[in-house]
């Protein structure tokens, strides 16, 4: 892992996938409650955490993201009943492959945030952004096909 010399000024790039029904609404509530978290976090809305293909996460790393977080409804509360369980299993598989891909496991996180947990959303994002800032800039995942 590269240690960034200017880690004080290092601004990580963080992609957050949020499910439409719980976490995205939780992010909205954090906004309505004016609970701040770093602007480094950019949210992509998906219908359900089970829509997040692990490929999306790898794509983000390939394009230069320093951290990716996926948020869904709490287990048992999925709008689509079982979506977050699928997501959880898929992410477990992804985690088992990250070492192999050369991505620090701590750069990927899965969190459950409900629509009522604005405070939790902000807390989770602050914590994750802090962690990623500590870890510094990520090694860009190269697309092997582009290399000569």
């Amino acid at each position: 892992m590269q240690v960034n010399e200017n880690s004080k000024e290092f601004k990580p790039l963080i992609v957050a996938f949020c499910c439409n029904w719980c976490s995205y609404a939780g992010a909205d509530l954090a906004g309505t409650s004016r609970l701040s978290y770093p602007a480094d976090v950019k949210i992509i809305r998906v219908p359900c955490s089970c829509r997040v293909n692990p490929m999306f996460i790898l794509k983000a790393f390939e394009k230069g993201a320093d951290g990716v977080i996926m948020c869904g409804c709490h287990p048992g509360d999925c709008h689509y009943t079982t979506g977050n369980y699928y997501a959880r299993r898929r992410m477990t598989l992804l985690f088992s492959m990250l070492d192999y891909l050369g991505v620090d496991k701590e750069r990927v996180r899965v969190e459950w945030v409900s629509a009522a947990e604005g405070q939790r959303f902000a807390m989770v994002m602050n914590d994750f952004a802090k962690k990623i800032t500590e870890l510094g800039e990520n090694v860009k995942l190269g697309d092997i096909r582009c290399k000569k």
Binding site: G31, T32, R45, V46, P47, C48, C50, R51, F56, A65
Partner: protein, 662 residues
């Protein structure tokens, strides 16, 4: 090349104070797809919307991005705006620069930069949007009710009164359910039969209601508005159209060993029987396991005595199909297994009974003709102990983790009725907590204590055992005085936990309706959609959804009926176009998608496809747009990448990722 318009909202100072809206406009203009960009104070106002409409026409926009508040707030508004200007409403994307930007950041530079990135992501996405048309599906104007207890009866009557056809499928020979077995109802103490049997008759006579008793749902296919249901009408060996319910056969039947289910097995019945005098339909049923004709080939006394010639030993189960627009689950409950709690000697001593058995013992139509007697010797009891929470609130694995809700009240009712009718009988109630929320409920319970001198003792009973006198001894502790209680008594009544009927799991899986760990059906939303299942077109009525008493059941049954009527009143249903779809050339028919779909929306067909000049028949996944709710589970499960989700396609999300990571 798309022609995109970007509209940046100030939201007064809500956005404009932290985000430099002019800079955002300038920045997005550099995107080659963007042909127009502007900002305005309030985009959602009529003036703002007019701005958008005019720009769509003027610049022939093919898609728009509104940078404003959360899409949860105004996405619908701007979709309608686009539609009004002739642009497909799904060509609209929202960049959330208020809740997720201006409101949480203080630094204006930082806010502006983030807003630009969010806008770019939305532009990247909208460029890949495709016009979508909400679909339509036809609604069959007929409802199915599964279960003919008070919940099913009430839902049926309410739907039928609104003018729609209703079928009730009931697995036992008669409708009426548990309520028909009860003696009196709390807190008014009116006779259960007197209020439920007229409702049963109303069902039977209603021109819009058809009752299929002694029948079971065999298979459910289809979806909201158009369910296709197979129903098995079990052989009664009695021709329903001929039987007059005269009951002569039931009296003449020489086999008397059948367990009388209606009396909870406290007595026996003939092999041909009518469960009770007011049964609907009032026809006899032959139970083949006890019938001598079926066992030995001889007998046939019932047939000889039937003047209507209704006995038909050759009758077979009959399966038929019917279409329904909506299905109401009203499968009710059963008493949970108390044999697991044999420290109370239920399996060992006949004078230890459940509350439902006591109900039959006190009912005028019951095995003892309404005279309260001990089942062991038919003698009058002088002392009765009630034990509450048997199997409820139990996380040890033996019982149910939940509170069964109705036991506190019916126990108070039993105690009071006994004290009223037999003042010489001492009544003790062992309780953990007395839970009586409800109109006139606590007053009712207090009346049992204050007026009827029912002895309430706080503490669960530890053991019940037979004493030298042949009676029962109850070993407990009075937790208030912290003293041992050893009570000699004549009868022990267990307020056993209630649980969903045992067939409900099967029914839920046929309907793809979800159930919780206790087998109660799950509601679509615990507060706001309490009578709907998450599966569209399936509604919940009564205890199948959670423990409840009769008034609550009836209100919920009515609520479910209203939801059904609301659905059946529509000729067509509008379907969400953001659904999954298959790329036929890539699908290999592996069934991975079908397995993860919670709605049963995916099926397979053999279809001829043209792939790279080769024409061949393949097994291909097909998504039913009316059933698909657009969660996207299948898109990730698909190993070949054939499955995608409209409105949130792989390409769209990847484009967003690209735009953010640029």
């Amino acid at each position: 090349m798309q022609r995109i318009g970007v509209f940046v909202c100030w939201c007064g100072s809500n956005i404009a104070a932290t985000v430099d809206v002019d800079r955002v406009v300038e920045a997005v203009k550099t995107d080659p797809n963007v042909v127009h960009a502007e900002n305005y104070q309030y985009m959602c106002s009529e003036a703002g919307q007019k701005l958008i409409r005019d720009a769509i026409t003027e610049h022939q926009l093919t898609g728009i991005v509104v940078c404003s508040c959360s899409p949860r707030m105004h996405e619908q508004t701007f979709r309608k705006t686009a539609e009004a200007a002739g642009l497909n409403q799904y060509m609209v994307e929202i960049a959330n620069i208020r809740e997720q930007c201006s409101w949480i950041h203080k630094d204006k530079d930082e806010g502006t930069e983030k807003a630009i990135i969010l806008a770019r992501a939305a532009i990247a996405k909208v460029c890949l949007n495709a016009p979508l048309q909400p679909g339509q599906s036809k609604v069959v104007k007929r409802a199915l009710i599964i279960g003919g207890g008070i919940a099913g009866i009430q839902s049926a009557i309410d739907i039928a009164d609104a003018g729609y056809k209703v079928d009730i499928v009931e697995r036992t020979p008669t409708i009426g359910g548990k309520m028909a077995q009860l003696d009196k109802t709390f807190p008014t103490l009116d006779c259960a039969s007197c209020i439920v049997t007229p409702k049963m008759v109303e069902c039977a006579q209603h021109p819009n209601i058809t009752i299929y008793a002694y029948s079971e749902v065999e298979e459910v296919k289809g979806f909201v508005g158009n369910f296709n249901v197979k129903i098995r009408k079990k052989a009664r060996y009695v021709d329903e159209t001929k039987c007059t319910g005269c009951a002569v056969c039931t009296e003449k039947c020489p086999s008397r060993k059948g367990r009388n289910e209606f009396n909870c097995g406290l007595d026996t019945r003939g092999a041909v029987y009518i469960p009770f005098a007011q049964a609907i339909p009032n026809v006899a049923t032959i139970d083949a396991t006890n019938c001598l004709h079926f066992k030995t080939g001889k007998c046939g006394i019932c047939a000889k005595n039937c003047s209507a010639n209704a006995i038909d030993f050759e009758q077979k189960d009959e399966i038929f199909e019917e279409q329904y627009g909506a299905i109401v689950v009203a499968t009710g409950y059963q008493i949970s297994d108390v044999t697991k709690f044999d420290e109370y000697q239920y399996t060992k001593h006949p004078d230890v009974v459940t509350s439902l058995e006591l109900e039959r013992l006190m009912n005028a139509a019951g095995p003892s003709k309404g005279v309260l007697v001990k089942p062991s010797d038919g003698k009058h009891p002088h002392d009765i102990v009630f034990i509450q929470c048997v199997g409820s609130r139990d996380i040890s694995g033996r019982g149910k983790c939940y509170c069964s809700k109705i036991c506190c009240m019916y126990t108070a009712k039993h105690a009071m009725l006994i004290r009223e009718k037999y003042p010489d009988v001492n009544v003790h109630v062992f309780y953990i907590d007395v839970r009586t929320p409800g109109k006139n409920f606590d007053e009712f319970y207090r009346r049992a204590v204050e007026q009827y001198n029912v002895d309430y003792i706080k503490g669960m009973v530890g053991k019940v055992y037979e004493n030298e006198k042949g009676g029962l001894t109850v070993q407990a502790v009075d937790l208030i005085s912290n003293e041992r209680v050893m009570l000699d008594t004549d009868m022990v009544v267990l307020a056993a936990a209630i649980e969903p009927s045992d067939g409900v799991k099967h029914i839920a899986s046929m309907l793809t309706a979800s159930i919780d760990t206790n087998n109660f059906l799950t509601e679509a939303h615990p507060k706001l959609r309490p009578v709907e299942s998450p599966t569209a077109g399936v509604f919940l009525s009564g205890v199948c959804q959670g423990p409840k008493d009769i008034p609550e059941t009836v209100s919920q049954a009515g609520a479910a009926a209203v939801k059904v009527v609301g659905l059946l009143a529509k000729d067509y249903l509008v379907t969400n176009p953001c659904t999954a779809h298959t790329d036929e050339t890539m699908c290999n028919g592996c069934s991975s998608c079908e397995r993860v779909c919670p709605y049963g929306a995916i099926s397979y067909i053999d279809k001829e496809v043209m792939d790279k000049g080769v024409r061949e028949v393949r097994r291909i996944a097909q998504v039913n747009g009316a059933l698909c709710q657009g969660c996207g589970a299948c898109t990730v499960a698909c190993p070949s990448g054939a499955m995608d989700l409209k409105g949130f396609s792989n390409k769209q999300i990847m484009a967003e990722v690209d735009a953010i990571c640029k």
